[in-house]
């Protein structure tokens, strides 16, 4: 499954190597970098619990000294000072524990985010095209943060409370070996009941989360669609539906509350205290313990209070972190679908494209494209038209190997795209997608993104060709204007033309344009037409378009329907052969 050895498209040399076979191994390999901090955490946790356990012991001793000789106060002062001293020391050691945990967890977050990010940069475009940005975001932000929280407070508290759990067991034999009985029983019963509690709670919290999600989604929808709701007088129905969904959440909330209410470890703690007290008095009555020891032992039993309440929270924190780690690891280990073929063909490109009986299906889906064949000469413009879901976008993405065909062949300059070196192939193909992404940087930087050393003359020429120069000129800071800042928002058409300018600078042999902008006014339409015309000159151009004039003047028109080419040819040919085509050119 793992693809650690597969070629990546980007890497940095100084990276710390980690083992990515499983979440625990992976996290451990990260943490191993900071083994000194781990040691300090463990020492801090152990001594913290041990020093805390000393308090009841000293109190017992203090009581004994007063009982033995009420007139001599020196031992009392000694024990009081011991308590104060040990507890201040304990604070210091606890601080060491907390600081270590904090350092580890923050570094873990930083390192893991770094590792994930580098890994993302190394992935192929295929990967990024298939992987939704929102999902990647969630992993790089929330999941990484969960791992941080898993360590601190999660594991920090698990370690801390485990030490508290065992202290009574360790210290009780000081007074009498039989006193180990209650702590031992408690630990077992506690573990079992906690396990049972979590098992019972999980499906209920899942349901309550799902119900809340449903509530939120539907509510947001009704409010966003309020015009539709009101326009069709559906307010009572919406209110009824909302009440139903809100009641579902209410029920889930109550069920969860009921389970949380009867948290069994709380009862067990009461039982342990009673049992421990009874046991100690029993031994006392047989002369096996003194009063101080009874008091000390009871104090030890009370140490269970802290882990009993805290561990619930810390375990769920750890399990959240593990789930996050698993998701991140899954993302990093996911395989690239394409080989880079670095040794492949890499001559200059003329821009001839041929599809030979190409079929393509997305993983576990029926065919998105079926038996596609056509040929485009260098410099020609191809308009691809069809309804949503007809396979237009899939078709163009096969050309630069965003996806690889399953059946048939795609040839560029007569050479199978899989024989081309991927780098050479992509360098000569520019894709402008439907959703145009611009960085929150200056317009200048955006245009020169693909050619960072471009001169300002080149940049302004590209802007002119793409018909954005007039628009840029009216901006206060011109080419230096930062996109997205101070209300600089761009229309779809402007974004598209900026992307065209970006493509101009790199001068690709093949331009692929997925055009879905609409222009509200004719002047804007003129600009878009001119920009696309300029962009298509001198290079092979595939345009997915709804614009009749683009279609009308293309050298080749492909009409797709449900993944098949139902008509192809020039405008005149299609007018003669296709009813559907003729229909749309009728006013």
């Amino acid at each position: 499954m793992s693809s650690v050895a597969s070629p990546v498209e980007f890497s940095i040399s100084k990276q710390y190597p980690t083992k990515r076979t499983g979440p625990v191994v992976w996290i451990s390999s990260h943490v191993a970098r900071y083994r000194y901090l781990i040691v300090s955490l463990l020492i801090g946790a152990l001594s913290n619990a041990a020093l805390a356990a000393l308090v009841p012991v000293y109190i017992g001793e203090a009581i004994n000294t007063i009982r033995d000789d009420p007139t001599d106060l020196t031992p009392l002062i000694r024990y009081a000072l011991l308590i104060a001293g040990t507890q201040v020391l304990r604070g210091g050691l606890q601080l060491a524990r907390n600081f270590s945990a904090e350092l580890i967890s923050q570094r873990l977050e930083r390192d893991i985010r770094d590792e994930l990010y580098v890994s993302l940069l190394g992935k192929s475009m295929t990967f990024h095209n298939l992987q939704p940005v929102g999902d990647t975001m969630a992993r790089a932000t929330n999941d990484v943060r969960e791992i941080n929280l898993m360590f601190n407070p999660g594991i920090n508290l698990v370690v801390g409370s485990a030490n508290f759990m065992i202290m009574p067991l360790i210290l009780a034999p000081r007074f009498h070996p039989a006193l180990m009985l209650v702590p031992a029983l408690y630990i077992i019963a506690y573990a079992l009941s906690l396990w049972q509690y979590l098992r019972e709670l999980r499906p209920v919290t899942d349901e309550s989360r799902a119900a809340f999600g449903a509530l939120n989604t539907r509510l947001a929808e009704s409010i966003d669609g309020i015009e539709t709701v009101k326009g069709s007088a559906q307010e009572p129905q919406e209110a009824g539906l909302f009440k139903k969904i809100a009641s579902r959440y209410r029920d889930a909330f109550v069920r969860q509350g009921d389970i949380e209410a009867r948290f069994l470890p709380l009862l067990l703690l009461g039982l342990a205290e009673a049992g421990g007290f009874y046991h100690a008095i029993l031994l006392y009555s047989r002369g096996l313990l003194d009063i101080g020891q009874v008091v000390a032992y009871f104090g030890l039993i009370q140490l269970f209070g802290f882990p009993t309440f805290v561990s619930l929270f810390s375990y769920s924190q750890v399990s959240l972190g593990m789930a996050g780690a698993k998701r991140i690891l899954e993302l990093m280990n996911r395989e690239n679908y394409l080989d880079q073929n670095e040794a492949g063909h890499s001559g200059p490109m003329r821009g001839e494209i041929e599809f030979r009986n190409v079929s393509y299906a997305y993983p576990e889906n029926e065919n998105a494209l079926q038996n596609i064949s056509f040929k485009v000469l260098p410099g020609q413009t191809v308009a691809i038209m069809g309804q949503t879901g007809s396979g237009k976008t899939t078709l163009v993405k096969l050309v630069n190997r965003t996806y690889d065909t399953t059946v048939g062949q795609i040839l560029v300059d007569g050479i199978d795209v899989r024989v081309w070196s991927l780098n050479a192939l992509r360098k000569n193909i520019s894709i402008i997608e439907q959703d145009i992404f611009l960085f929150s940087r200056s317009i200048e930087e955006n245009i020169s993104f693909g050619k960072q050393d471009a001169s300002s003359a080149e940049i302004s020429h590209a802007a002119k060709e793409a018909q954005v120069d007039e628009f840029i000129a009216i901006l206060a800071n011109g080419f230096k204007t930062v996109i997205g800042e101070r209300g600089v928002t761009l229309s779809g058409g402007q974004r598209q033309r900026l992307a065209l300018a970006r493509a101009f600078l790199t001068d690709p042999r093949i331009l692929i344009l997925d055009d879905s902008t609409s222009s509200i006014d004719s002047a804007t339409e003129d600009k878009i037409q001119r920009a696309i015309f300029a962009a298509s000159r001198g290079r092979t151009t595939l345009i997915i378009t709804h614009r009749l004039s683009q279609i009308r003047w293309a050298d080749v028109i492909l009409v797709l329907r449900k993944g098949e080419i139902v008509a192809q040819g020039s405008h005149e040919e299609l007018l003669a052969t296709s009813d559907a085509y003729r229909r749309i050119f009728k006013e």
Binding site: K230, Q387, T506
Partner: protein, 611 residues
Amino acid sequence: MGFFSNLDTERYDRQYSDRDLVRRMAGYFIPHRAALLGVVVLLLLISFAGASQPWIVSKGVDLLQQELSPTNILVLGGAVLLVGVTIWLTNWLRRRSTTRIIANIVLKLRVEAFQASLEHDLSFYDEYSSGRIVSRITSDTQDYGQVVLLVTDLLSQVMQAFILGVVMVGIDWQLSLYLFASLPVILLIAFSFRRLARKVTRRGMRAMANVNAVIKETVSGIAIAKNFRQEAGIFKEFDAANKQSYQVNIQRGFVLALVFPVLNAIGGIATAILVYAGGLSASQGMVSIGAWFLFIQSLDRFFFPVLNLSAFWAQVQSGLSAAERVFALIDAEAAVVQVANNPVPRLSGDIQFKNVMFSYNEREQVLDKFNLRIIPGETVALVGHTGAGKSSIAKLIARFYEFQGGEILIDGQDIRSFDLAQYRRQLGIVSQVPFLFSGSVVENICYACSEDITSSQVEKTAYQIGNGEWVESLPQGLTTQVGERGSRLSMGQRQLVSLMRVLIQRPKIFILDEATASIDPFTEWQIQQALNMILANTTSILIAHRLSTVKAADRIIVLDHGKIIEEGNHDVLMKMGGLYANLYNTYFRHQSLEYVNKRQWLEELPVNLGD
């Protein structure tokens, strides 16, 4: 929690006086008064049980110094057991009860807030972001409910501490004073930590938000970066943000890591003082050893309520302001007011505007003494620049907004006198960005269906449009899931579904705000088909963006600044060479076949472009 609570005030928010707020909130609790009483009784029980445990133990310690009978031992053990079981049992019952009270109050508040939102007219939604309205209905109600839990939790701890306090003062007031003296110190430290923590947390969150923004930006642009081989550049940017976030968050972590060690150390010192002072008193015979032990043991039970107290006010306050926000949403006044609730018979679709005055706000008069008559069955296209008043006219007919003067008559009746629900059922409205609810295509078509419409009728109508081509292009036909807000369908498909909704509904008045989105020509043709079917049977008001729609209208009304400038059909108006001809050149020219066939823009291009 509550860090951002002051950021989201809206204009309809109001300050309720404390008395009103309390009275209002009490109203929600009154139906649950029996359960509440039960909770109070249980709280008392828990507090007594909680306070009695250290007392029993201390009595036991005193008993140890005398003669111990087996019965005594059993009684002591049994008493501690009884206390433990009682605490657990009463706590269980209390949590059960509070959960139900909270759940029911939150549910009631939610339903009321949602219903109130449905009553608000569109001017309300124009002004206030829907996201915030949603959060008032979901999270603010929840926060308010949580206050109940907070109050009861704290109350039981404080009561327990109070009972213990009384017992201790009764035993020895001097020792009690030592104990109480430590409390303000703890409170002070807790408060200052809270302030510090809030400050560093805010900075940490800001740094975090920055990393997230950088990740979002660069991950979204990763395909572009790869396309142009710019990975190293974006990595540098990310790396800087990531490192900075680490620096800031580690400071935050260190501050938070200080809290418990410091409190523990102080608790240790307080214990030491009590051990010494108590031992001193015991040695002088002023208190028993058991009582001494009681004091030491009680320290913890004062510690926690005091710690919680430091967070309590902030939490309760944020809960109360949450309540205030929900009430403000419920109480916001509606702008659209019906003067009567007359039943609406089947309309013929006659629409008349008489001297209508309308504005969205004081600054700008949208319609000024506007007059328009639309006769039954007529198709009217409204054209004009943005802000000319096209959609205002349409929205007034839909009664989405209140107008300030004049009259709007539908079939000769005052629009304000209608039963609004009955009236709107005879309207078919398709907005510019058609809205679909998640569910199947057929569910959306039938969103407002009366029950007598069968699915075969829906299917039949669907296939009347372009021979059902659009249905076949959907992956699962009419049962295709449209996704949230219809996101899985293209804009054209959404448009078709909305038109189908109207077709099935058979309204008398049809209002269309035409989409400006780009739609493929095949779908466009089918939309035209559907539109023609609707126009044939209704009085139609079209806010036209497409040439074909304008041409199909019986009458084009050319608007400018809320006034009708020209009227007539396309050919007549073009000949006039007035505003319409101007608008045509601005908005419609590029849609004509002439434009498509001529490549007019080419002629304007400078020099050597023909290759």
